[in-house]
């Protein structure tokens, strides 16, 4: 007596394209890059504020990718992405490029010392880096004329630090999407 296995094969045929497939190189690379670029371009949306309150989203998405996937970004990637951010941020050209480059070096040094970190420690690292880069941006702004009082940065820094968990979740969703396609 012969049992036909043909129907079973037909059922599995629908999954064949998704099993043991090659991941798309393009989306593996493009999704992180595009997400950072879009984060930098958020300031072009019609959000009009009288003070700097919006978290620096380009920086925070970049930082989240860096902490979530150490080794994904080459160390020099702060320069091109920072230059792109400078076009839209309104700060003196080159300030984000410098801050993002320094951030990458600092994270590399942190990674070589504190190798195993949990989520809270990552958040602490992110909080320090976010605060330092906002203050750094403020300092570079002051080089070209009057600068505002330091305490006007406080709302933005606090908001940004508490936005980090949200951004890192968004980035991890993007990451699983990136690896699934």
């Amino acid at each position: 007596m012969k049992v036909s296995i043909a129907p079973r094969r037909r059922a599995s045929a629908g999954y064949r394209s998704r099993l043991n497939r090659e991941q798309s190189r393009l989306s593996m690379l493009a999704i992180p890059i595009i997400s950072v670029l879009l984060g930098s371009m958020v300031t072009t949306l019609p959000i009009i504020t009288t003070q700097a309150i919006l978290p620096p989203l380009g920086l925070m998405i970049f930082l989240s990718w860096r902490l979530l996937r150490p080794g994904f970004w080459p160390m020099w990637s702060g320069l091109p992405l920072g230059l792109f951010d400078d076009i839209f941020s309104g700060s003196p050209f080159g300030s984000a490029a410098l801050i993002w480059s320094l951030m990458m070096i600092a994270l590399e040094l942190i990674d070589s010392r504190a190798v195993w970190r949990d989520y809270l420690q990552d958040w602490l690292v992110a909080a320090i880096i976010i605060a330092l880069s906002i203050v750094g941006g403020w300092f570079f702004l002051g080089l070209s004329g009057a600068k505002p009082h330091l305490e006007t940065l406080a709302p933005q820094i606090i908001l940004s630090i508490f936005c980090y968990p949200l951004i890192v979740r968004l980035v991890s969703r993007l990451d699983s999407w990136r690896l699934a396609t």
Binding site: T43, I53, L57, G71, L83, F93, S101, P148
Partner: protein, 301 residues
Amino acid sequence: MAPSHKNRPRGFSRKAQYGLFATYVLTIAGAIFAGLLLIISVIDPTGFSALRIIGTEITAPIARLFDSLRRSANDLGGNTSAYLDAASKNRALEKQVKKNRIRLIEATAIKLENKRLRGLLKLKHEETGHIAIGRLISSSAASSRRLATLSIGANFGIRSGQPVRGPDGLIGRVIETGPTTARVLLITDANSPVPVMRAKDGTPASGEGLSNGLVIIRPVNLGLNPFKIGDIIVTSGNGGLFRPNIPYAIVLRKTADGAIARPLATPATSPYAMVLPIYEEYALATQAQPADQPIANEPIP
């Protein structure tokens, strides 16, 4: 989390260590390059304006597309702090009553002042109208530099230096123009001095942004601090850039040497932005300065 680190080799591979060293050198060189760019842009703030203008021009259609959403976005974002502040309805209502009263006083004060000044000066500069009317379509919401993007540019005859006002009062002045967009330095920016006076009696003063949505008013005659809470501050026309009597701010509280005031114009909710001609043509001479530099328009006492 497990570091899946492909860029940082471990162990004693000489080749891998050289590779890491090269990456460090490359990154530090990149940082130095960025620092040089920064120095250039600090020395010459208009140097990279072409890049910024291209960026703004490319993204302007998106901003224009979403402009209809602006009100709601603004209600969610810009006023969140106000909602948090006024947790109780009562307080919100009280605020509104106060605002209305101030608006009413402001209107009367400006009306009277206009009449009196016109009579006094035999006003040689008539209200010369406006150059063009546009909308503010975005702002540098994440930077301490307070800039906004205007939906019109050189195609409507807009040039650097021209004042911009809304229906409620002064918004700022144009510092960069692109083909179809312009960048406006808001009065709340720390680098945006405006010669002002008290509407009631013309006490000369100088206004400057604090970058937190408020402005500081410093009287020109030091030593006495004549300001009272609720005083209306208008532009004085000194310096020749802003025409007189554009509503500027309302005094919130006194400080040791001046007063903290809230700008009357709210760029976020303002339905339009009117670009005005430069008040006096001699101000054009100072426009040769870099756009980010403050224009020497301190009022003469």
